[in-house]
């Protein structure tokens, strides 16, 4: 008995020190890799897609359960005296701006409440140019460009692409791309509201044949922009323009991390992860916005559909069903009208 207790008293600190050292080494390696990645990006070097063992192992982890567990832990109510310390530590670690929070720090009961905080009035002024599209979220611009080719492929990273239709769903009204990379446009009028649409209908009906000549219409292309939200970023999503959302689709799926490293190592990342797609039209035609979840940020709330929930326990065969749950918004043909800057959704912790 004495021998055994002596052995334990030696082993426990040794094992703890070894674990701390190992975690420290892993963290240092991660920081080094992140720095290398940032330097490469600054030099304009495009990192190529390269699957690794870690990505393969991730497929076998119960990431949805881990995410829900994290959500449960982060929603535990903290004592009032502890709240400012925890949130300040979080802000230091992930570079959040606490001065923008709409409430005093001790008013956020849990880390989860703090994470989805709203901002003080006027913290995010909208670009007033009516011809511009604004960013729907705080984050880093990962990719952007024109969607080209009949397959309407979007580049995840150099050497790996996924199709826009897989991201949005086969029922999507995504316009077909022609040989010259322009897209089909079935409407030659703008609309942001039912009334405006009615007015435009009159404008079109009464227009002279010259105005309706297809050659006079501007050629439309399809474009995309991918924005990655870091842990310290403000996690609410706003409307990028005045537009009408006609349908919402929910794709249950995995909850892989979606950071830059994951994008480089996990194929089909955005079309395998759980996501919510809002689709509709803006003044220039088609518009869709996909909010893609991740392990930390497992669930998505929609302010235009308060009863809607994601990241719920589900049978595996339903998780990877290619047919999403779809909900058309009323009234038919116009859906929900959103103004530029309106709050649309929020990413929750877990």
């Amino acid at each position: 008995s004495t021998n055994s207790s002596e052995g334990n008293s030696f082993l426990v600190p040794g094992a703890t020190a070894a674990t701390i050292l190992m975690l420290g080494a892993l963290h240092a390696r991660r920081l080094y890799e992140d720095k290398k990645l940032e330097e490469a990006r600054d030099k304009g070097i495009d990192m190529e897609f390269k699957p690794d063992v870690k990505a393969t192992v991730m497929r076998f982890l119960p990431l949805r359960s881990i995410s829900r567990c994290w959500g449960y832990l982060s929603s535990i109510e903290l004592p009032i005296w502890l709240r400012p310390h925890v949130y300040k530590a979080w802000a230091r670690a992930f570079h959040s701006n606490l001065e923008e929070a709409s409430l005093p720090l001790d008013h956020y009961a849990s880390l989860r409440d703090f994470f989805v905080r709203s901002l003080k009035e006027g913290s995010r002024p909208m670009d007033a140019d009516p011809k511009c599209l604004v960013s729907p979220a705080d984050g880093i611009v990962m990719r952007f460009g024109e969607i080209k080719g009949a397959g309407a492929m979007i580049e995840q990273v150099k050497g790996f692409s996924y199709s826009a239709i897989s991201l949005l769903g086969t029922n999507s009204a995504l316009p077909l791309i022609k040989e010259d990379n322009s897209s089909e446009d079935d409407s030659c009028f703008e609309f942001t509201s039912k009334l405006e649409r009615k007015r435009s209908w009159w404008k079109v009906s009464l227009a002279s044949p010259e105005v309706r000549d297809p050659a006079q219409r501007p050629v439309k292309g399809l474009f995309y922009c991918v924005i990655y939200l870091g842990l310290g970023d403000y996690h609410r999503i706003h409307s990028p323009a005045d537009w009408n959302v006609s349908v919402r689709r929910h794709f249950p799926g995995r909850l892989f991390p979606v950071n830059e490293r994951a994008a480089r190592t996990i194929g089909n990342l955005y079309i395998e992860n759980e996501r919510v797609v809002l689709e509709g039209r803006w003044r220039e035609g088609f518009m869709a916005m996909a909010a893609v979840g991740a392990t930390n940020i497992g669930s998505i709330d929609l302010f235009i559909e308060p009863d809607f929930r994601t990241n719920r326990p589900m049978k595996t065969k339903l998780l990877f069903n290619s047919k999403p749950e779809e909900r058309p918004y009323e009234p038919t043909n116009t859906g929900v009208a959103l103004r530029k800057g309106d709050e649309v959704a929020a990413f929750n912790m877990g």
């Binding site: 511009c132 050629v219 439309k220 292309g221 991918v226 518009m287 869709a288």
Partner: protein, 42 residues
């Protein structure tokens, strides 16, 4: 978490290969830090 935005916008007619004032142009670069309300393109 990630947001992917897909949209139609005016583009140069590829047969002319001339960009005009009515074309959509991104005003961001890859790796840029962006915030809600800032223009991503015009």
């Amino acid at each position: 978490s990630t947001v992917v935005l897909i949209f139609q916008a005016p583009m140069s007619n590829s047969s002319k290969e001339v960009s005009s004032a009515s074309d959509f142009n991104f005003s961001v670069k890859r790796g840029d830090k962006i915030r809600v309300g800032e223009a991503i393109g015009r």
